[in-house]
Symmetry: C3
């Protein structure tokens, strides 16, 4: 099954819709990328809100346009709050996205991520090692890094999509986005992005924002990947290293225009 | 009651005093803005310290020049630690500042923020929706964003100031700073600042630093607003988007000079 | 006992080894510097992973190349997780590094840091006030800042090194690195680095990465100091203030070359 490309005008249309809708994204994410995640969503025109206490998280996710669950610095207490938020999101039909950071490498989060799978995520975004581990085919990468390439995890991603009903994204040199039936490939970006913490995590937040939009969820999620890849490519051109990449990337997301995406 | 302007030479004098005194600000703030908050205080010449465990927080706030309480990512445990810090601050006459992030939108923090009001904050800094909610007049914004404009919340701010004895700041396109009797207006900045996470939160930290200084607290707090607005304006001029805004803003705070403020 | 200088070609060799080995550093660090720490390690070619839950931390530290314990925002729960990680690290001979932020100033962390000393840290990195307090000679600085200069803490550092078996680093205008017998001095950097939060904390992370490398640990740790001082100096030259320093510093670490170090 050869992946297709997302038509450029679709990515442009999703970007325009995102800016008009300005989805409010409830982010329950790891300690390391809180600020970067919020700034990426703001730069794109979405609205982030980090709400973490269980009681508040359950009250807030129904008010949000989408919910992001990233288990990078999972604790038992955060796990309870995430579960409460996910259940409330489901009751109110708020779409939620799972970023299963380092699943497979550590038992506690692996068990938690598998438990979350039964709560109908709208999308799952991980690197190849994470998607393989979540699909039950391999036991994890090196810390938070993948030891597998994205293409090799594509069958696992497709199985996972069919089993859970989620759109599954495997990121790497190319990103693959699958609903289990149809698969889209997204190119762009560059290896400098692997020298900046959280480029995967912030993509998951953009995926969450795009899951709040109407239209084809498969295409909306692929458009999220394309926005981040495209802005990443612009930023790499305009930077001297990972330090200057960060402001350049946020500026590129802010200035992203549909014509360039198309 | 038409707001006055802060005389420019007053802002310059407060900046000079701040740099000489280098107040030590005990920051109990949200997960998203920890690093930005510390860097803003350092750039201005103040000294930040984040101490979070209840026992340590109560030991530390009396040693600090001022205490900041920001409830953006409140948890039950953090609430207990904040309460301990506030009570210790009051015993030692350390001024403390409340940033009631998203109050009104979420029950747990709304109840907590109302409880804190009885502990005599030196200042309260919020957007219009937050100040309206805290004054008991409206039920909150959209996530962490205001759905009201600052001017519309001015009467509520003045009432809140009279009721609590705090200097109340409502931020927006213009900032309003009131002791319930006299009100000062501060202009500057720009909408790009709403596309960067934490520009309000860091202002609250600067307000806390300025509450540690001698002289008129109303003017000290208005000077804090003016420093941030002015540096924000410089940074907007020197940036291409929200990414390059952040380093430019810290550089502008670092290089802020009294003559330009005046 | 006059400190020696680290031969420049040694620092260059350590940098090369670091990039080849790409040590996986398990960082249990404070809330304020999570992102900066990860980005510094990535820029240098190491691999950071923040794992915080006690059960996971104990599972992860044996898989890591080195473990960093930074007590800047210690809580009782984090203390338990840190202890579990340190004990697991010792069982698997993973070297671990202690950054005793603000020890001496606050009782809870002071007691905790003293308890940790019995678990054989590979290295300890602190400012003068922290090293004096940890050595039992003085009671702490002003918040997280030192009120003593590095040279004055050198005898305490040497005693602490002899007593614990750790390499002890006292940082300041010059850094001193001692095994209790031999001491190396490292110059460079500049005062602008004291206006950016976490420059000491990120050095501790680089020290941890270098403790994972083979060869003389004393020289490896001094090389870590030299990399950070050298990149700091380059970044100061290329920046207009603490804001532009941060991206310039990450770029300088990324582009650091052995010849310049030598």
């Amino acid at each position: 099954m050869q992946p297709d490309l997302l038509p450029g005008d679709r990515a442009a249309a999703v970007l325009q819709t995102l800016r008009l809708a300005s989805p409010l994204v409830h982010c329950m994410t790891n300690d390391v990328v809180q600020s970067f995640t919020a700034n990426v969503l703001l730069a794109l025109g979405a609205a982030p809100a980090m709400v973490t206490e269980a009681e508040e998280a359950a009250q807030f996710s129904p008010q949000a346009s989408a919910l992001l669950i990233n288990i990078g610095t999972l604790t038992a207490e955060r796990g309870r709050a995430m579960l409460a938020a996910v259940q409330a999101a489901n009751k109110s039909s708020t779409p939620w996205v799972l970023d299963p950071v380092a699943v497979g490498a550590l038992s506690f989060r692996t068990q938690f991520a598998h438990q979350l799978l039964s709560f109908h995520p709208a999308a799952i975004r991980g690197n190849a090692s994470e998607i393989l581990a979540l699909a039950g085919e391999r036991s994890g990468g090196r810390g938070v890094d993948s030891t597998d390439d994205a293409r090799s995890a594509l069958p696992a991603a497709q199985n996972l999509a069919r089993r859970t009903g989620a759109i599954v994204v495997v990121t790497g040199e190319q990103d693959y986005v699958s609903d289990g039936d149809k698969t889209l490939a997204v190119a762009g970006g560059g290896t400098l992005m692997t020298r900046v913490v959280g480029t995967g995590c912030v993509l998951s937040a953009v995926v969450a924002a795009c899951c709040a939009l109407s239209g084809s969820r498969l295409e909306n999620v692929a458009a999220a990947c394309q926005m981040v890849k495209h802005a990443g490519g612009i930023a790499i051109q305009g930077s001297r290293g990972p330090g200057s990449f960060i402001p350049a990337f946020l500026d590129a997301l802010y200035g992203l225009n549909g014509e360039a995406l198309a």
